[in-house]
């Protein structure tokens, strides 16, 4: 088998399979993150007021929650194991750090979630009201706690901290648990992701409620649900926007290539503007001299401010990051991608020499090789590339995904504000256009949420671990055909499950909570 050919196809199929699983997983999880809290809030009102209306409302949203939960769990299991099945070298190279959050997620979060979800669904007649309410809150906390640990793991892939490479075991080993846990990338990611889930859940609740109003059914239920969801969504949006801003700041420092790709920015400048709307030149390649955009409407100096908190800061573009030579924020001069590749190669060669010297028992040579390895380890992953342009992610995909996420995000804030206003000030008399907009926002919020992950993960390419391990060196040694077969198996299975789940969901929604308006 020719190794290069083998690698390109198995890497592509493995990436595709992982992306497929992650995308499907993320169709189900964000709703459960947010809906679980809204259910707990509504149940709290029920316990406080004793009003049966709220119990029925809670039960309706719990049905929606339960249908989603099952598929989220199923796809989550596959994701966890795929780190091993498809990314064997990855599991070896970083397992010492990456495994820990996954284990903690299982021990602390999943059991909390699965224990109390059983009480939530089957405990109505078996436990007291307060115990049931506690179970509902703990289910929500469990779901969100599991998100914390997997996002700590993901944050570490974007910005590896708290570890040291051990050449004796060929892996990175953790030397600070707290650095891994409180990694700024991880913390931003956690809050940004869970609040995106809350916004998604709030939009879904508003969208479904809007449908009831449009059909002239369950008006009270719909209005009360919209009230809870719009307040919850509005508060979540505040955190979402705040952490979105700090994520941009963080990315500028830890993953400048991702930022450049998100902006479609090839030529960097001081006082760089933020592209509000634009069309990056199709088919543009590094160094082909074409313009960056066919059309671009920019907000002056905003990108410099978002990235560096300084309206005149220099934001490097893709060309600058490859050629190097620009002044960085700390005053040092950036090195070129070619130089990074050279240093990466030096690290890999030093690792080989270290192995050889260790085998021969030559400690002096081993110590020297180790010192060179440590000196260049920061660029270790670059050593796997020959062509500097290999480190550029897919620019149009990152550019458009980012804009879809941001602009739709503002649309959702608008929906929260106007829904809240109508419920509070106009006695829930919604104009038809608001109702239609709310319903159409349901598919849009899923698109926005997926787009966010596309920016995060496609923007990290070609790395699995930023700067340290490219996908090409992370993959398992299995036939591309095997991965292809499992890809299609999963694709067919997940699609059937998605269709089944949507049909069930629509049927349950059509059935409705069955609350007569007089009962309140």
């Amino acid at each position: 088998m020719h190794d290069n050919l083998f690698l390109s196809s198995v890497v592509e199929w493995s990436r595709l399979q992982f992306a497929l699983t992650a995308i499907f997983h993320w169709l189900f999880v964000p709703l459960t993150l947010g809906l679980s809290f809204m259910i707990a809030i509504m149940e709290t009102i029920y316990v406080k007021t004793g009003n049966e209306f709220w119990k029925k409302t809670v039960k309706f949203w719990m049905t929606v929650f339960g249908i989603n939960f099952a598929v989220g769990v199923a796809t989550g299991l596959i994701l966890e194991f795929e780190f091993g099945t498809n990314w064997s070298n990855y599991s070896w190279f970083v397992g010492d750090i990456f495994g820990a959050p996954l284990a903690i997620e299982g021990i602390l979060a999943f059991f909390m979630e699965s224990t109390f979800i059983a009480v939530m669904f089957f405990g109505w007649n078996k436990v007291g009201r307060k115990t049931h309410l506690t179970a509902s809150w703990l289910t929500a906390f469990g779901a969100n706690l599991s998100a914390l640990w997997i996002l700590v793991a993901n944050g570490w892939m974007q910005n590896p901290v708290g570890m040291e490479f051990n050449p004796d075991t060929a892996r990175n080993e953790m030397n600070s648990f707290w650095e891994v846990l409180f990694n700024p990338t991880a913390i931003n990611k956690f809050f940004h992701t869970i609040t995106s889930g809350y916004v998604l859940a709030a939009i879904v609740v508003i969208g479904i409620s809007a449908w009831f109003i449009l059909k002239g059914r369950e008006k009270l239920f719909a209005n009360k649900s919209i009230l809870v969801a719009s307040v919850f969504g509005l508060l979540s949006s505040a955190v979402l926007i705040f952490t979105g801003d700090s994520s941009a700041h963080n990315v500028a420092h830890t993953q400048p290539m991702k930022l450049a790709a998100m902006e479609g920015l090839y030529k960097g400048s001081e006082g760089a503007g933020f592209s509000m709307f634009g069309i990056p030149t199709p088919g543009k390649k590094y160094g082909d001299g074409k313009d960056e955009y066919v059309f671009n409407l920019e907000f002056p100096k905003l990108l410099s401010f978002l990235g560096y908190r300084n309206f005149n800061a220099f934001v490097p573009g893709i060309d600058d990051l490859i050629k190097g030579g620009f002044k960085k924020e700390d005053g040092s001069t950036a090195i070129s991608a070619e130089e990074k590749i050279r240093r990466g190669r030096a690290a890999i060669e030093a690792y080989q020499e270290y192995n050889k010297a260790k085998k021969e028992g030559n400690d002096v040579v081993a110590a020297d090789a180790k010192a060179r390895l440590e000196k260049n380890f920061k660029y270790y992953g670059y050593g796997y590339f020959n062509d500097p342009s290999s480190i550029i992610p897919n620019v149009p995909l990152c550019y458009y995904s980012f804009r879809i996420m941001v602009w739709l995000g503002f649309l959702f804030v608008f929906i929260f504000v106007i829904s809240l206003w109508v419920v509070l000030k106009r006695d829930g008399n919604f104009g038809k256009w608001i109702l239609y907009l709310s319903i159409w926002s349901v598919p849009l919020v899923y698109i926005a949420s997926q787009a966010g992950w596309i920016v995060a993960e496609m923007g990290r390419q070609p790395w699995t671990i930023q700067d340290l391990l490219p996908t090409v060196a992370a993959v398992s040694r299995i036939d591309a055909s095997s991965v292809m077969i499992t890809f299609f198996l999963f694709f067919i299975l997940f699609t059937i499950l998605l269709v089944a789940e949507l049909r069930i969901l629509f049927a349950q929604i059509r059935k409705g909570p069955k609350i007569s308006n007089e009962s309140v």
Binding site: L77, E80, N89, Y90, W92, I97, F111, T115, I348
Partner: protein
């Protein structure tokens, strides 16, 4: 020699083994799923049985996920080697578990696309293949697998860079060619069915289902004993995989038998476990009065038995994941495949929460299971599978 590090490696092998043991116990859900048509003759009876099992499916599932996570954190090189190599075995296991996760929730819902029957068959497939495959995969801990490990390969730019790789075309499926693995797979399957009947006897108040369960208990105990004894005798008599202080792996006659003799406490746990399983079955089958609490003896017995077997595979200087390809030195031991001392220490602190987690699980389990389920429940419950 760093004794703290060695202690941590032993401790984490214990925890992973305990999780594995709990997983096999909780597979009573899978075992019960394969019996829905045998124990439930009417639609309502089946719904009752499925709901009774369905209240617990998430525990089995979560234990599987946590087992994976804990193995990853404590012995990442196993994760990298086995999952990345025995690709088809693990993928098959995953597929059969995905079928389970959705089937409970979707089964009785209106408009569920595939119909009630399909989801019931998904549950049966999960119960059959989930148990057999997990058992077969664990069998390779004693019989070995075809893989090689070479750390230097990660620096092999432009060539084969994968550190651990499978050396057979079937990517792990070849495990079914070894009768010892298959015997363990079938033993797990029949044990799961035994536990399933015992759990149903304890949780459902229905004479017809009870009578059928008793019959099934007997029918499954016989093949279980045959497969289990075959497996145990085979591993006791076969050469095992030992590791010396220098980390060199070699074959040793009667290794697994000697492990029990050299670790009498583990042997005692094993015997206690076997007696517990038999006691639970015996009481349920032969008691003069109706006895339905056999699940607790058989369940605890299962945990003890599996725990002791897994400890046998990893403790006492044994290579728990032996490589049969080329030389034995690719084999994984708890020493050469564990996480760093730092990570194991950090994880050990986290593990102090486990008793607390177990406590709330037990407490909530008892709350939900206080009363046996009856046919009428499926009419009155608000959430029905």
């Amino acid at each position: 020699m760093d004794t703290t590090y060695i202690f941590l490696q032993q401790y984490w092998w214990f925890l992973v083994s305990l999780l594995g043991a709990l997983l096999v116990f909780l597979m009573f859900v899978q075992g019960g799923q394969t019996l829905i048509y045998t124990l439930g003759k009417t639609e309502d009876e089946r719904t009752l049985i499925i709901n009774c099992l369905g209240h617990k499916w998430e525990f089995t599932f979560t234990t599987l996920v946590t087992f994976g996570g804990a193995f990853f954190a404590s012995f990442p090189l196993f994760y990298s080697t086995s999952f990345g190599g025995a690709y088809w075995v693990w993928m098959a296991i995953l597929l059969f578990f995905v079928l389970q996760a959705v089937s409970y929730e979707f089964r009785s819902k209106v408009n569920n696309l595939l119909g009630k029957k399909t989801y019931e068959w998904f549950l049966i497939l999960n119960g059959l293949f989930g148990t057999v495959l997990v058992g077969t995969a664990v069998g390779t801990f004693f019989t070995g697998s075809l893989f090689s490990v070479d750390q230097a390969k990660i620096a092999n730019i432009g060539g084969n860079m994968t550190i651990s790789q499978w050396e057979g075309p079937a990517y792990g499926l070849e495990a079914v060619l070894n009768p010892i693995n298959v015997a363990l797979g079938l033993a797990v399957f029949f044990l799961a069915r035994i536990l399933g009947t015992l759990y149903i006897m304890n949780s459902i108040d229905n004479d017809k289902i009870l009578a059928r369960s008793k019959k099934q208990l007997l029918y499954n105990t016989i093949p279980f004993l045959v497969c289990f004894l075959f497996f145990v005798v085979c591993i006791f008599l076969k050469e095992g995989f030992a590791v010396n202080e220098a980390g060199v792996v070699y074959k040793e006659a009667y290794k697994y038998l000697f492990n029990f003799l050299q670790m009498p406490a583990v042997a005692a746990i094993f015997l206690l476990g076997v007696v517990g399983v038999l006691w639970g079955i015996g009481l349920s089958l032969f008691s003069k009065t109706v006895y339905t609490k056999g699940i607790w003896f058989a369940g605890a017995g299962t945990v003890f038995t599996v725990l002791a077997l897994l400890l046998n595979a990893g403790w006492n200087n044994t290579a728990y994941y032996p490589s049969l390809y080329g030389d034995l030195q690719s084999s994984l031991t708890i020493y050469n495949s564990s996480s760093s001392k730092f990570t194991l220490t950090a994880m050990s602190i986290v593990s102090l929460f486990i008793p607390f987690v177990l406590a709330y699980i037990v407490y909530m389990w008892r709350l939900i299971n206080k009363k046996k389920m009856v046919l009428n429940d499926i009419q009155t419950e608000s959430h029905i599978y």
